[in-house]
């Protein structure tokens, strides 16, 4: 079963709040996590996204698509990175997410990817 695990906010806020030692530890943590998930065969994909300030949002206004600068959600709630993992159960996806939360101490969303076959 595939799940997407998502982090929100801005890398900069994190560093500003926590300082440079935290940053070093954070990088080491992310690399260790990535390595573990590759070795366990659970990692499908993971990426960091550009800072929210670099995003554009395209809305439908007055009958046409209109792009504006900025992310869709508020900066601190805006998607900033994700993992897609292929795991045996939701419990395992939550376990992986918990490992991340224990470190970054900020909320993480876990959501099933819709790849199930129909039940007929």
């Amino acid at each position: 079963m595939k799940y997407m695990i998502m982090t929100f906010g801005s890398a900069e806020e994190g560093v500003k709040a926590m300082g440079r030692d935290w940053m070093l530890e954070m990088v080491a943590f992310m690399q260790a996590l990535d390595k573990d998930l590759r070795e366990s065969g659970e990692l499908v994909d993971d990426h960091g996204l550009a800072d929210g300030s670099q995003a554009k949002t395209v809305r439908f206004e007055n009958g046409i698509p209109v792009p504006t600068d900025g992310p869709f959600a508020e900066s601190k709630e805006s998607l900033v990175g994700y993992w897609i993992v292929d795991v045996d159960s939701e419990e395992r996806a939550i376990e992986i997410a918990s490992r991340i939360v224990a470190f970054i101490k900020a909320p993480i969303e876990v959501r099933r990817v819709m790849d199930a076959p129909p039940d007929f």
Binding site: A11, E12, K16, G19, R20, V27, Q31, D51
Partner: protein, 403 residues
């Protein structure tokens, strides 16, 4: 698969494709047929041994695949025309190298987008499989296969033929080819952490193709310049990042990790080229890289010479990026404030508006000028703007040190 079989197949790929296209004129069908022959060889030769005439083997198998393919098509007219034109494989043709150059021009056809040019060049000239190219660019194989397929259709609908470009276009077309090879090199040259072995292979492949091109057109100074630039840049690869994937800037790199053989080769190429042929931007960039690479320590770097070279580069190929790099050299020779003043002239330049490098250089110079608060803000701004994770971390760390 044994690496010597792999190397042999990659070397023969463009020669076989060139020979086949020369006869049948259907680039896309021939390219598919050659791909299949390469895959067949990759499966059979390790078991049965390499044939006595590998090129002939590949050409025979590819020809057979091509005729099978044409036979199964419903367009009768096309079938009759091309089947009549096909002859049995003849080994040892003298035009092998000319064909590779023609192929290179075809794959870098101006009607194609850059990603398509890269993908098609790597497959038809580089002899890489679709899977290898997909892996190198981190896209699914099916996506890459489609990209290559559509590129070939585009070439056909643009009316391109398997022939050297007319003399009047050759200079511009060659510039496109050089740019494509430079892009391949750059793709491989992004610093990254994790199991990114494919990235290093792309750099090696770019150097191999640049070397091939230089041998095909030895009189072209810019082809020599590009190869020299790649060698002199790649020479520093081992020192550019730590084991943990952190970027190490040039002035902090451990120079004992630099590849001296590549540096010597790059410098020798430049010595043979500079001053004998019209100078061009790749030669100039290579010359600047050579000055860096020849300094035993960062402090020994001949910055006045680098500044002089940037001034020439700016005259022959002006761009905002060149001005930016020149600002760094100005700062090293005349002090950070002079460099910052030059950066100020770029602020009004629309091309630089979304470029994180301007902020990163500004931050660095502000730091050197002792303006630490302004430097920190600039580092943070640059960190927000970059699309490279190792670079973002590096810039954020620089800001954190000034907080």
């Amino acid at each position: 698969m044994q690496s010597n079989i792999e190397d042999l197949l990659r070397e023969l790929a463009p020669q076989v494709l060139g020979a086949l296209v020369r006869r049948s004129g259907q680039f896309d069908a021939c390219e598919d047929a050659v791909q299949e022959a390469l895959l067949a060889a990759a499966r059979q030769w390790p078991k049965d041994g390499t044939p006595d005439n590998p090129r002939s083997w590949l050409l025979t198998v590819a020809t057979r695949r091509l005729t099978d393919q044409l036979r199964s098509e419903t367009a009768r007219r096309r079938r009759e025309e091309t089947a009549a034109a096909l002859e049995p494989a003849v080994p040892g043709e003298a035009s092998a190298y000319d064909d590779t150059l023609t192929l290179l021009f075809l794959c870098c056809h101006p009607s194609l987008s850059a990603p398509s040019q890269l993908a098609l060049t790597l497959r038809a000239v580089g002899g890489l499989t679709t899977a290898e190219i997909a892996s190198a660019f981190l896209v699914p194989e099916a996506t890459m296969a489609q990209r290559i397929s559509r590129a070939k259709e585009r070439i056909r609908s643009a009316g391109a033929t398997f022939a050297m470009p007319p003399a009047s276009e050759r200079h511009d077309r060659l510039r496109v080819v050089l740019h494509v090879l430079y892009l391949v090199f750059n793709e491989g040259y992004t610093t990254s952490s994790g199991p990114e072995l494919n990235r290093a292979d792309l750099t090696t492949e770019a150097i191999r193709l640049a070397r091939m091109l230089h041998q095909l057109v030895p009189e072209e100074g810019e082809a020599a310049g590009l190869l020299a630039l790649m060698l002199l840049t790649d020479a520093r690869r081992a020192a550019r990042s730590t084991a943990d994937g952190w970027i190490v800037p040039l002035d902090e790199q451990r120079r004992e990790l630099w590849n001296m053989d590549q540096i010597q080769e790059g410098v020798a190429l430049l010595t043979q080229t500079l001053g004998r042929v019209p100078v061009g931007p790749y030669q100039m960039q290579a010359a600047i890289a050579a000055v860096h690479d020849e300094a035993p320590t960062a402090q020994d770097t001949d910055w006045p010479q680098i500044l002089a070279l940037y001034e020439v580069l700016e005259r022959i190929a002006p761009s905002a990026v060149v001005t930016l790099n020149r600002a760094v050299a100005v700062a090293m020779v005349k002090g950070p404030l002079a460099g910052l003043a030059l950066l100020g002239t770029l602020d009004a330049d629309g091309r630089m508006a979304h470029n994180h490098r301007l902020e990163a250089v500004r931050a660095h110079l502000l730091e050197r000028a002792g303006e630490l608060v302004a430097a920190r803000d600039s580092y943070r701004k640059a960190a927000r703007m970059t699309a490279s994770i190792p670079e973002q971390r590096y810039l954020a760390m620089k800001a954190a040190h000034l907080a």
